[in-house]
Symmetry: C2
Subunit: 205 residues, 2 copies
C-alpha cells in the first residue's frame, strides 16, 4: 500500500493528465488534505456495457462503453454494435473510494463517516500498520444482454434496463454532497496536512 507522499504524487499527476473524474476532484482534494488520511484509487460511479470473453474471465473483460454520468440509449446502442465474442452486460456501479487511515482511531472515524453518508457497503481492512477503508454504495446493476455479438433483448427492454441503471447511478452520486460535508467536518477535527499543501503547490494543481 502506498505511503501518503507517493499517493499524493499519483493523484496530482493524474489530475494534471486529466485522468481524475471531474465530479470528485474537490472531494479527493478535501480527503487528502486531512492529517493522517489519504486516498488511493477511486471512481465517481459509472455505467456502461462490458463484454466478458469467457464466463468469469474478468481480467479479459473490456468496456464497449463506460461513462461517469448517465448513458444515453443511442450511446448504448452504438456500443452494442461493437460486440464480438463473449457475454454482454449492462453494468451500473456506485462511487467507490479507497481511503487509507494511518491509525485505527482515524480508520474508525472514516468508516463511520462513510456509513453515515449513506454508503452502506463501507468496510475496512488492516494492511500492515495502516487501514484501508472502502467507501462503497449498494447500487450495483449487472444485467446480461446477450452473447457472442447477439443481443437477446429488444429495444423496449434496453430502454427499461438503461433507465434502471441510470436511476441507480443518479441515486448513488446524489450522496456525494453529504460525503463531502462529513469529510469537511472530519478535517476540522483532525486538522490539515502540510505535506498536502507543499506537494499541491509543487505540482501546480
Amino acid at each position: 500500500m502506498k505511503a501518503k507522499r507517493e499517493a499524493l504524487i499519483s493523484l496530482f499527476t493524474a489530475m494534471n493528465d486529466g485522468k481524475v473524474d471531474a465530479d470528485i476532484i474537490d472531494l479527493l482534494l478535501l480527503v487528502n488534505s486531512i492529517n493522517g488520511v489519504y486516498t488511493t484509487s477511486s471512481c465517481s460511479g459509472r455505467i456502461g456495457v462490458m463484454e466478458e470473453p469467457a464466463f468469469g474471465a474478468k481480467p479479459l473483460a473490456r468496456w464497449l462503453i463506460k461513462v461517469h454520468r448517465e448513458m444515453s440509449f443511442e450511446e448504448m446502442r452504438e456500443a452494442l454494435g461493437k460486440a464480438e465474442k463473449g457475454l454482454l452486460f449492462l453494468k451500473s456501479q456506485p462511487p467507490i473510494f479507497h481511503v487509507v487511515a494511518e491509525d485505527l482511531g482515524r480508520a474508525r472515524k472514516v468508516h463511520e463517516l462513510g456509513l453515515a453518508s449513506g454508503f452502506k457497503y463501507t468496510t475496512f481492512k488492516a494492511i500492515g500498520t495502516r487501514y484501508l477503508i472502502e467507501i462503497n454504495g449498494t447500487e450495483y446493476l449487472t444485467a446480461p444482454l446477450g452473447r457472442d455479438g447477439e443481443i437477446l433483448v429488444d429495444d423496449t427492454y434496453l430502454r427499461f434496463a438503461l433507465d434502471i441503471g441510470n436511476s441507480m447511478l443518479r441515486r448513488s452520486k446524489g450522496r456525494l454532497p453529504r460525503l463531502f460535508e462529513n469529510f469537511r467536518r472530519l478535517r476540522n477535527e483532525l486538522g490539515e496536512d502540510e505535506l498536502f499543501h507543499e506537494l499541491r503547490e509543487e505540482y501546480g494543481v
Copy 2:
C-alpha cells in the same frame, strides 16, 4: 453485536428449527468451535426472483422464489406468474458469512483466510471491542426482467440469464470446501472452545 453465548444459542435453536441452510451446517459448526471466533448471520448462496414495489425500496421487496441451490427454468417461470407491482429482478448471490473475532489478531487471520479461500469481497469492521468480518464473494447478478407484472424479455433470454445466474452460484459455492479446510487449520492454531461443546450438548445438535 451478540456475544458468543447468545450467538451460539441462536445458531443451535435455528438448527433445531431446520432454519439453517443444510450445505453450510458443518462449516458453521466448525467456525463456532474455534476459540474467540463465532458467526452471526450467514447464507449459503442463493438465486431467485425479487419484486421491488418501488425503485430502491428494499425493505418492501419480496422474493417470488428464492432457493439455495440452482433454480430450474420452470420454477422461475412459475414465480414470474405471481408478479404484481414494481420491478422484477433475477438475483444470484454468493455465500456470505458474518464472523465475529474477539480481538484484532484473530480478525486479521479470519480476514486473510476469507481472501485466501477465494472470497474476494472479504472485509472487516471494528464494532466496539470486537471485529466483524464479512466473508463474501463477487458473483452478484441483478438482472431486471420486467415491471408491474409484465415480463419484458422472452423465454430465450430468461434461459440465458438463468444459466448465468446458476453458473455464478455454482462457482461461488464451489469455494466452500476450501473455506472449510482453511477454518480447520485455523482451529488447529487457535484451539477449541469449551463453551461451544457445552452448549451444543445442551441443545442436542
